[in-house]
Subunit: 565 residues, 2 copies
């Protein structure tokens, strides 16, 4: 049987100032319409350049940890696992949100960690936490560092004397694969590719592929309630975790390795999503699956957003669930089709143009048209049944199947788009993403409201921007909305501009029944809304848990919960 593994990924040195590998950028050579379209849409006359500083021009505040402390750290963790060097501190100072990228590109780093420790086992983590608790030093757990909500910045807190980032990359082993129960015990610092390589080699997969896959880690996925692009079928990371280990300043928690339980509240669910504020997730037992026999991507066009939404909803509610139904709104549809690589060969080009002509004739290239990528994978039998069910629901809502090309391109380029952010930032263009989820009955209203809120916030600072969206991660009772926003930077007010858009969008989400975050987490950037999200008593309950597990407040301060400096 020919099983389908994940595509190979490259490796190499990571950018300290942007997304992914130093050696990579987003290829625009074969997308000749992109810049003209963007200039026109953003009402810009020409592209300008916003250079970034070199690493030699980045100045970090000196480490607050004295030599004595560093020596002690080295005693716990081994000298090779402790660093207070500039490069280590710099590369652990921020995540990969838009404001983080702004700061990095300017070389203005307010909160680098005072040291970085790379523990290689749970006993080192336990000792470090005891040391940090006794010495009032904050601890920031760090997986891949790809947070887009400020989840890893070592924010200073009054009463704490320094900050140590715990980078878990050396705890990246697969400790056990149980091919009967289909589970694997894995250390939390393992990266997406490391995990999938290890599982694929035995015929298995976790099936968790967030867009950050190449540069994020299992522990980070769990700490932030991450969702992979196939979550519609496979569930979010919380559905994949059978049990986990958290080491908190008050001690160690091992939740029970059973498929389900009625032994009181589900402790696992209190630790998943804790964003490093309760302790360090050191390992998890995850539910794996056999590599699929078949994988199939295809594109469909709908005459309206509503048609596409209804098709997803009906599919989800009919019970046979495909891997992914990713529906772009009309604006994103236009951009997606434009960003699809232009075919290089004559024949393909003619076919494509004929196809586009046909789509136009049939009314599928109107300003309201929407693109859906449908993905199915699994056994021959399950793909057949699930694909049929989805296609029938789509057909009931006037879909037009445009074949596998656009779907396969999406799959091939799924991890590439974050690189485009760096290219846009090079040209002084703001680019950010935000996401939420709500029930089906509110989805279209919420979509329209967020779009308007973003556009208004952009206009209020005198620029014309663009916000487009897709529906992904569907459930029986609702779905998530994922927005991308692009606008010319307001020179000298880059942070304020971002803050105003973020506030407008988030206020709008909270007013219209969306969740504060569906899969990015809360971190630093969403924390101001957490009381509104959870309610007074909900937030107080979280704080009571925090007091129990982290009585001196050393764990990842300034994240998730409200924060007094």
């Amino acid at each position: 049987m020919n099983l389908v593994g994940r595509p190979q990924t490259e490796s190499g040195a990571a950018k300290w100032w942007g997304w992914g590998l130093e050696s990579k950028t987003y290829p625009l050579d074969d997308k000749s319409q992109f810049w003209p379209f963007l200039l026109k849409t953003l009402k810009l006359r020409e592209l300008v350049e916003c250079p970034r500083v070199g690493i030699e021009d980045v100045k970090l505040p000196p480490s607050r940890l004295g030599n004595r402390t560093l020596t002690q750290l080295k005693r716990f963790a081994g000298a090779a696992n402790v660093s207070a060097e500039k490069y280590d501190r710099l590369t652990h100072s921020l995540g990969r949100s838009y404001p983080d990228l702004l700061s990095l590109r300017r070389g203005v780093i307010r909160n680098p960690p005072d040291a970085v420790v790379y523990p290689n086992g749970e006993d080192q983590v336990e000792k470090l936490l005891a040391f940090a608790r006794a010495n009032r030093i904050s601890i920031i757990p760090f997986g891949g560092g790809s947070s887009v909500v400020g989840g890893v910045e070592p924010i200073k807190r009054r009463g704490l004397k320094g900050a140590i980032t715990l980078d878990l990359r050396r705890m990246n082993r697969v400790l056990e694969v149980d091919s009967v129960s289909l589970t694997a015990i894995v250390e939390a610092g393992i990266s997406g590719p490391q995990l999938e390589d290890a599982l694929n080699s035995k015929g298995f997969t976790l099936g968790h592929f967030p867009q950050s896959f190449q540069f994020s880690a299992l522990g980070g996925w769990i700490a932030t309630r991450s969702a992979g692009q196939q979550s519609t079928k496979y569930g979010k990371i919380e559905d994949m975790v059978e049990c986990l280990t958290l080491i908190s300043p008050s001690g160690r928690l091992d939740t029970k390795a059973v498929p389900a339980s009625a032994s009181g509240p589900e402790l696992k669910e209190l630790l998943i999503g804790s964003e490093g504020t309760l302790g360090v997730i050191t390992k998890a037992k995850v539910r794996i699956r056999r590599l699929p026999e078949v994988r199939k991507y295809e594109g469909l066009m709908f005459k309206s957003f509503r048609d596409g939404i209804d098709a997803i909803r009906e599919t989800m509610q009919n019970g046979l669930i495909p891997e992914m139904m990713r529906l772009s709104d009309p604006d994103e549809t236009r951009i997606s089709l434009m960003l699809s690589s232009e075919p290089r060969e004559f024949i393909k080009s003619v076919t494509t143009k004929l196809g586009l002509w046909l789509l136009k004739r049939l009314g599928y290239l109107s300003p309201h048209a929407c693109l859906m990528i449908l993905a199915n994978e699994g056994s021959q039998a399950s793909v057949k049944a699930e694909r049929n069910s989805a296609l029938q629901a789509c057909k009931r809502h006037r879909s037009f199947v445009i074949g596998s090309g656009v779907g396969e391109t999406w799959a091939k380029e799924r991890y590439e788009l974050p690189y485009l952010r760096d290219v846009l930032l090079d040209h002084c263009i703001l680019v950010d993403t935000l996401e939420t989820a709500t029930t089906w009955n509110k989805l279209e209203t919420l979509h329209g409201a967020i779009k308007k809120a973003i556009q208004n916030a952009m206009s209020s600072m005198g620029v014309t921007g663009l916000a487009f969206c897709h529906v992904s991660h569907a459930y029986r009772d609702g779905a998530s909305l994922y927005f991308t926003l692009v606008a010319p930077q307001v020179k000298g007010k880059e942070f304020q501009q971002w803050g105003r858009i973020k506030k407008a969008a988030t206020d709008c989400i909270m007013r219209n029944g969306g969740t504060l975050s569906h899969h990015h987490g809360i971190g630093r950037d969403h924390a101001p809304w957490i009381r509104q999200e959870l309610g007074n008593n909900g937030l107080e309950l979280l704080k009571a848990m925090k007091r129990q597990l982290d009585p001196t407040g050393i764990m990842n301060p300034g994240k998730l919960l409200e924060f007094d400096r």
Copy 2:
């Protein structure tokens, strides 16, 4: 389209001393082999009688609440909603576990509530909790009262001056049905039949059918992490709850009505399974589904327990999930076939006998043979795909399909078996059930170990008993085990006998990687093992939550957590 609703249920007065309706018992007329088999197996020469006391002989300790307190209660809740009468106190004094039934039948009631309040809205609950907190009176939330782990007994706690049971039966309205998102907002006191009747009349179902269905309530299901008999496909109650409202002594918590979220730990999961120890669950928004187009039950025989287990495991791991695969172990298989009603008509009887002869010839009636009930429901397409997938896995493990008869009988009689307990108790026979869940790699070992532990505990008190089991509630990574145990009572030591068996079985579960409870909950009876189940830090975390929401410890004392009187 012909949709399949739930079977009609009767109504009438409930037994104060046993299961279900006064007017009903378990019919044994057409099961002529039952008593002879039981006498032989339990090595009893004859059936004896253990009569129960009449209600007039039950004496309750006087209410500890003075007239002034009762008057105040009536002011909050309305005079018609407050009772300190004997009947109300008696019928809220215990659940329906074996020791509870022993106490009821003897009329020895140690902990009746001092009053019963039937609130008819959330504001009454809020006022009552404030009053109880101020006056140090414990509050016991009460749904259907069907707990089999001592979940509703008003256990006394030092420092508390009385106990009020809050019976939620008057909060039983369906407040909203959203046919787009497929959700319903329902008050927690609604009973199973009331809820399904209301939903069925609009073409929907919740799909939650625990064996207690007829006499349990939504709030109780949520408070105990209940599993319905179709949980394999539909999930446990926690998967059906989109959000809920809990009124705690510290105030009200409304979790967010969204399909999924990454806004920190999942608060909903802290409240589901809280067993009334954190507050009163007053309503929930549940995920409903359309009534199935098709429902299909069928029976299969396997040559061994291992074959059947492997068939379930492979089905779960292949991705197309049936509603139920319920596999009896060899002992339960024998009893199930015997308890199947004997066909009354000649033709059926001949067919049955021919069938049995054939089964025997083929080796499916050996002492190792196991019966599976396979159930599928949903749309035509999903049933076809899911049934095929399950049948193929079964075939790979040498199953023999014995047709729909035994499956349909099971479905018809699924709520009847608890009535048999009362019949057995009438004849001085101990009968209890217990359940757990574990991962596939440990399932068979755990099954054997529990069986042995129970048998040993029975023998140690000089009686010969029987313990049989089925696998139900399957997951990708494991399944639950549900044991029924039957033994002659040890006269004068009935409680000790039960306690010794319970301890032996539970210690064995804990030693062999099972969960303390998969769907019955912890209550009073499992609380001694809760520290072992959750670990020190896990239990301390629960206690911290309890201190936050219930600082004076008035909510359902003696349940779930360890308990000092």
